[in-house]
Amino acid sequence: MAASETILSVKDLRVRFRTLDGVVEAVKGINIHVNAGETVAVVGESGSGKSQTMMAAMSLLASNGEATGVVDYRGRNLLTLSKSELNQVRGRKISMIFQEPMTSLDPLYSIGNQLIEPIRRHRGLGAAQAREEALKLLRLVHIPDPERRMKSYPHELSGGQRQRVMIAMALANDPDILIADEPTTALDVTIQAQILMLLAELQRKLGMAIVFITHDLGIVRRFADRVYVMRYGEVVEEGEAEAIFVNPQHAYTKMLLAAEPTGTKAPPLPNAPVLLEGRNVEVTFKIGGGFLAGEPLILRAVDHISIRLQRNQTIGIVGESGSGKSTLGRALLRLLPSDGLIRFGDRDISAADRQAMRPLRRELQLVFQDPFGSLSPRMTIGQVITEGLLVHEPTLSGRQRDLRAVEALREVGLDPNARNRYPHEFSGGQRQRIAIARAMILKPKVVVLDEPTSALDRSVQKQIVELLRKLQADHELSYLFISHDLAVVRAMADYIIVMKQGKIVEEGPTETIFSNPQATYTQTLMAAAIDVTRFRLSA
């Protein structure tokens, strides 16, 4: 494959954004090329400029961005083409799929309508012929019942199906190059595996080159022929995929390869006291209903689940989106109304109202997934993390609270001076540390961690996992660790509950679940995840 001709070559590409803080250079003069039919991966963490490189090549930069250099596609510089010339290449010769399958399709038009539009535009086909082509494409990407799906709207499709439709649109005009910008990041692991398989299959059938933009080294090793590793807008290492994995040269590449969280957690002593217990917990949601609207639909998000969390234990709750794992976590903290018994220590809190729960909240803390949305943007870090003290330790003076804030920030590995700054000044990983400090300052006993690492880069994930482990060891904490990321769960939890559609599919000690999964669903989940992560683990 290495001998085939170069069809796309990016030379000395620079991308700048004009912002209120001045000009930011996102891509600093990089060189990349793509040969016909090969698979190239551009790897990097967030902010490395990997997406902006391809956005610039496709002239899709935000309006404050500008690109200089050369993007040569078969002898034509894409950066200097007129708009109509460019539109002869975009969507026809080079096409692109994106990370956000949920929002990348126009919600107001049917799938059929959106598929037919680029076919008619680029191939000048009549409506009936274009419809036939669209149906063919839907079959090509294995959408079941394509006739019916043509009339569906995006919101009626699952994330995986939407990504399939995106792929169908991208392949509509038999492109030379398909650029896939984090095509599976927003999807569940089993769906991720399916989409990757589909891309591999389509590449074999159609022979286009694929450019993967990704932070996931598992995908890279499995699919890529060649790799570019990017950091801070520069290519720090490039080469054959195998060579890079076996013998990375640059320190950053080595760090990325070692970023998989490792280690395991020993179970708590058998006689450790049970801190939080749920028996037959059930959460139902009513959908619809009301005046003249008929019977509401009852959705059972958590369906008779029992769980016992001991001191110093970490229970990993694993499942795909919609499995009810977050709902369970919230119900156990009495943040959602539920049926069944919930005990905290020796207290029955099943019927405790908001008032009765307030004094207990201090010992039952929650850390959310989204480090960007969960910190109030108009409060300083000091105010954010000491707010709980105002409620739970009202006798503290301002000075004492400040000292506690310093202590909490030190504990999570942040500079105490951070307390006078605002959330937007911090990176995702730092914000997650702040969110953890906010929980830790109250000296809780139980912390529910709801996907605390999912929005973070791999190398940052590893740091957060290590921080959480250290805090657990120091304070004998109990964690409920909710996650869809099996690698992280394996490193964090000593016991695992696998959930699907509100029910427990399987539970047991971590190593048993990983080495010998019983339920078919767990096996599928493991296969999908390990298929992608295998190489990371062995590297």
């Binding site: 460019l86 399709l105 535009r121 609207a293």
Partner: protein, 307 residues
């Protein structure tokens, strides 16, 4: 969808009932009554008049009578214009106000949307700043300034338009009042449209459309505009109810015999029946237009489903 419309119309009945009841008792809380203005009526005549209109009856009885009449479609007589019933006043004035209001609304929606879209497509460029300046002017200059200026320039100086009057609905008589009514609305629509269009143009599916090499026309009109129009649709509901029921300022300045002036004059004169009539008309318009807006939403956005 039909079921939904039917359900909404059913819930309109108790809503109207509550509005009518509150208005009935609230206006009576205001001191004075329809016949103790500065007309110097002798106490006997005043008592006679009040007896004739049943204003001496206990309040609850007046209320029951009013409701009964209303159910039969009878708004009662106007106390201050005894030659007319409230129904007659509306039959005469409402079509005029609706004509002017509807023309102004359509003008505002068309012109405002175009201006807003042009501004959004040229964000932070000259065209954008011009539209913003125009919109700011349109929404800050009050109608009682715009109207006389139009009269002065187009009527007196250039003699292009009549200064005022309805002229039995001649087109030329409508231009001044429609422009005055439309100008602030154009400003609001343009600003709304600019904002939602900017947001729409940034959305992921617009990026997809561009990546597919679709034409600018398709990207802007087919994909971006349809999503951006939703805030305009919500705005149109209350705006239509307000515009179609007339404006006292415009009708007074241009001497238009619409119903806009009744609102204020009737309240000042304690003309109870006329006040109640205007309340019912405005409430009905508001309910109907909000329903139309919600139906339009479902037509534009397939994610909105009511059944």
């Amino acid at each position: 969808m039909l079921r939904y419309v039917f359900r909404r119309l059913l819930t309109a009945i108790p809503t109207l009932f509550v509005i009518v009841t509150m208005a009935f008792f609230l206006i009576r809380l205001a001191p004075g009554g329809p016949f103790n203005q500065e007309r110097g009526l002798s106490p006997e005549i005043k008592a006679n008049l009040e007896a004739q209109f049943g204003l001496n009856d206990p309040l609850w009885l007046q209320y029951v009578h009013y409701l009964g009449n209303l159910l039969r479609g009878n708004f009662g007589p106007s106390y201050n214009m005894p030659d007319f019933t409230v129904g007659e006043l509306f039959r005469e004035g409402l079509p005029i106000s609706v004509q002017l209001g509807a023309s102004a609304l359509i003008l505002a929606l068309l012109l405002g949307s175009v201006l807003g879209t042009v501004a959004a497509l040229n964000q932070n460029k000259l065209a954008d700043y011009s539209v913003i300046a125009l919109a700011t002017a349109g929404s800050t200059i009050p109608t009682f300034v715009i109207a006389p200026v139009i009269q002065l320039l187009f009527g007196l100086t250039w003699k292009l338009l009549p200064i005022g009057g309805w002229g039995d609905g001649a087109l030329i008589n409508k231009i001044g009042p429609v422009l005055t009514l439309a100008l602030p609305q154009i400003a609001i629509v343009a600003r709304l449209m600019r904002g939602s269009m900017i947001e729409s143009l940034r959305s992921h599916h617009i990026r997809t459309a561009r990546a597919l090499g679709l034409s600018d026309w398709s990207v802007v009109v087919k994909h971006a505009l349809r999503g951006a129009i939703l805030p305009i649709v919500s705005f149109t509901g209350p705006a239509a109810a307000a515009l179609l029921t007339g404006s006292i300022i415009v009708e007074t300045i241009f001497s238009i015999p619409g119903i806009g002036r009744h609102f204020v004059v009737a309240a000042l004169n304690r003309d109870y029946t006329l006040v109640m009539g205007t309340v019912v008309v405005i409430a009905l318009f508001t309910i109907i237009f909000n329903l139309i807006v919600d139906v339009m939403y479902a037509v534009i956005d397939p994610r909105v489903r009511y059944d």
